[in-house]
């Protein structure tokens, strides 16, 4: 089963399939069958399994709603996480409240699990703010658009955690495209040298806008860790159970003062890179179709149904919850107020700054002349 996923990774895009595809940790096959793995076990109650399904289904729903709302002009942009729900929910649910999470810009499912309101995510993509939530409230850092710098922030944060002797770990999300940035290599090295309690979590969704992974790198992402002196593992990113098991183990490893771990979750970006993107220009529908058969949500649903762990009433309830969430997001977004015209001056510095004060005063005076003339 594992080679099946790995083959598809390189197959359809026209790139050569590597002779020795690495092993892929898997606990739930695309057909929804539970399989064992010698190194990674997971034992979840039926309620926990159902809640994983619920988180994935609700994430997919508000994510899809955001795409629609962007089309209606309510958002400047949206980057869909469609297809990556297992990688995001499985890894996020492996974190503890006390762990600190650094996302990239597509981790809507992780945000959901950490308790960040989808409307907060959307306020950024609407253009109301460049942030959107208080990272201290949920230990979920702000989204960062520039690819690369955050890996070093996560590493530094983890170095601080180690200095404090705190019982926690740091999660750092990035994409396989981002793995090409020099900052990522520096982060791997700093984390290794400092034995920092950080888990680098790569969602290898195969595409960096139009660029397939074959053009980013000659080795699977997880293998890079070995060169820096720490463990790397590749997991089926569409298998929520395997992702959760592998991430739990990685976080335990980091919390146990054993240094960083690199997790590569092999998944697929089912949608466009962003609402501004047209993937038909660079990839084949056949490739997407192959990955549709590995859908993370359908897979868990099949398992839950076959094992009689969830019935029709459960799924109907989740659907109703999803409808309500979508409606709340729609209404919340449509009635979200615009920022005031001088708000961009508010937080340039923590302290007072003469130039900001002067420019703000001038701008306010300018705006007030307008009010007078219209009166």
């Amino acid at each position: 089963m594992s080679t099946d996923v790995a083959d598809a990774a390189g197959g359809e895009g026209g790139a050569p399939v590597r002779a020795h595809e690495p092993e892929l940790v898997q606990l739930l096959t695309p057909e929804g069958e539970r399989v064992d793995h010698p190194a990674y076990a997971i034992d979840l109650t039926p309620a926990e399994l159902r809640s994983l399904y619920r988180d994935m289904a609700l994430t997919r729903r508000f994510d899809g709603e955001a795409v629609a709302l962007q089309r209606q002009g309510e958002l400047a942009l949206w980057v869909s996480a469609l297809g990556q729900e297992a990688a995001q929910i499985g890894s996020a649910r492996a974190t503890r409240r006390t762990d600190y999470v650094f996302p990239s810009y597509r981790e809507h499912g992780v945000a959901w699990c950490r308790g960040v309101d989808p409307l907060s995510l959307m306020s950024m993509y609407r253009g109301v703010t460049n942030g959107g939530w208080d990272p201290h409230a949920t230990n979920f850092h702000l989204y960062t658009i520039v690819i690369g710098p955050v890996a070093l922030h996560a590493t530094g944060y983890a170095m601080g955690v180690a200095k404090d002797g705190a019982d926690m770990a740091v999660m750092c999300y990035f994409g396989e495209g981002g793995s090409s940035q020099g900052d990522l290599s520096e982060a791997f090295n700093f984390a290794a040298v400092n034995n920092a309690p950080v888990v680098f979590f790569c969602q290898n969704n195969q595409w960096s806008i139009s660029t397939p992974y074959e053009k980013q790198s000659r080795v699977p992402v997880y293998q890079r860790a070995a060169g820096f002196g720490f463990p790397g593992v590749r997991v089926d990113g569409n298998d929520v159970l395997a992702v959760m098991a592998v991430t739990r183990a990685a976080l335990d490893h980091a919390r146990g003062h054993n240094g960083p771990v690199l997790v590569e979750a092999l998944t697929y970006r089912m949608g466009a890179h962003a609402t501004s993107d047209d993937p038909t220009r660079y990839r084949l529908a056949e490739e997407t179709a192959v990955w549709e058969r590995k859908d993370p949500i359908a897979r868990l649903r099949t398992y839950l149904e076959r094992q009689s762990l969830a019935g029709a009433d459960f799924f109907a309830h989740v659907d109703a919850e999803a409808d309500a969430l979508a409606a709340r997001v729609r209404d919340g977004l449509r009635s979200m107020p615009d920022p005031g015209p001088t708000e961009f001056f508010d937080h340039v510095y923590a302290g007072q700054h003469a130039l900001v004060d002067e420019e703000r005063a001038q701008f306010e005076a300018y705006l007030s002349t307008f009010e007078e003339t219209t009166r």
Binding site: M124, V146, I147, D183, S210, L355
Partner: protein, 329 residues
């Protein structure tokens, strides 16, 4: 395949034609960057080039701007003429070290022996409702760095010719493309260059005051000048076109005609190009000035979220407000 000599086209298309003709004429010319190949770039400026010139000439790079510019420098040292695309203004900074410490300085360090004919194309500026890092105007950092030539077209015709001229320059050129003007069509004469790469140009002659602008703000200043006609004011608009060097002779000549000047750019006013223009003009022709050279531009704040950008950016009203102030001296 060769475009008609006089035609109406967008800036995106004009840039595409310039790249195409350069690739066609010189086998040493290369195009490289993120998603420039099969996709044709996120703005489609390189559309179709990989198909026609091959992956060896038009290359999708790994996602690493320092890597892109650093290897472009190496390719230039080996005799190639790389044209690099940075996807958006805000992503220039991972390459800043390569640009400022290496690209800008190698010619001087080698006492003139080494040539670095690298063009770095950067879609820049705001007004397009984008998320953070997609609307910035970082030109001052580069103009401040000796060894780099910095230019920015405002029309499709200039885009075509200035890119051709930049590619044939033996120095590194930072080529800023005003993304908010990418899709505006205008008549362009592709048969002969309208001006030298670093020459400024009077876009609209006038008698009462000169609006100095470049890139995305030229169109806005023309609009402002047209609006001012109703108030009986005759404003000149001067398109700098180049920020390093700046054609100060042209700026001075205009000022000596109009005696008043307002400089307009999207970039923050503080330490911006307008400060340089104002200072030089004050030094060169103090006694011709009827008023201080005023500036209109961005504020001392990170580029704001897009729902505030229309407050942050210069508007016709803000330009006319400055014109009022300059004329009231």
């Amino acid at each position: 395949m060769t475009p008609p000599k006089i035609t109406a086209l967008s800036m995106v298309r004009a840039l595409n034609e310039a790249l195409r003709s350069a690739l066609d004429e010189d086998p040493k010319v290369l195009v490289m960057g993120e998603d420039v190949g099969r996709l044709g770039g996120v703005f489609r400026v390189t559309d179709g080039l990989q198909k026609d010139f091959g992956e060896d000439r038009v290359t999708d790079t790994p996602l690493a701007e320092s890597g892109i510019v650093g290897t472009a420098i190496g390719l230039a040292l080996r005799g190639y003429r790389p044209i690099v695309e940075i996807q958006f203004d805000g992503f220039t900074f991972p390459a800043f070290n390569q640009i400022v410490t290496q690209l800008a300085k190698l010619h001087a360090r080698s006492e003139g022996v080494l040539r670095l004919p690298v063009v770095i194309r950067i879609p820049y500026g705001g007004g397009v409702g984008a998320i953070e890092h997609h609307s910035e105007s970082p030109e001052a950092y580069f103009a401040h760095t000796a060894g780099l030539r910095v230019v920015t077209p405002s029309t499709p015709e200039d885009a075509f010719w200035m890119l051709r001229q930049a590619i044939s320059t033996d120095d590194p050129v930072i080529f800023f493309e005003p993304k908010r003007r990418y899709w505006e069509k205008a008549r362009a004469d592709l048969s002969s260059p309208p001006a030298a790469l670093h020459a400024a140009r009077v876009v609209r002659p006038g008698r009462d005051l000169t609006l100095v602008a470049y890139g995305p703000m030229v169109g806005l200043c023309v609009e402002a000048a047209e609006a001012a006609v109703a108030e009986g004011r005759d404003l000149e608009v001067l398109d700098l076109r180049s920020l390093s060097p700046i054609d100060f002779d042209a700026v001075q000549a205009s000022l000596e005609r109009t005696r008043r000047m307002v400089v307009v750019h999207e970039a923050p006013v503080f330490f911006g190009a307008g400060a340089e223009v104002a200072a030089r003009i004050t030094e060169r022709c103090f006694y011709h000035l009827e008023a201080p050279v005023l500036r209109v531009g961005g504020y001392h704040s990170p580029y704001p979220a897009s729902r505030m950008e229309h407050e942050y950016l210069p508007t016709v009203d803000r330009v006319l407000d400055a014109v009022d102030r300059a004329l009231s001296y």
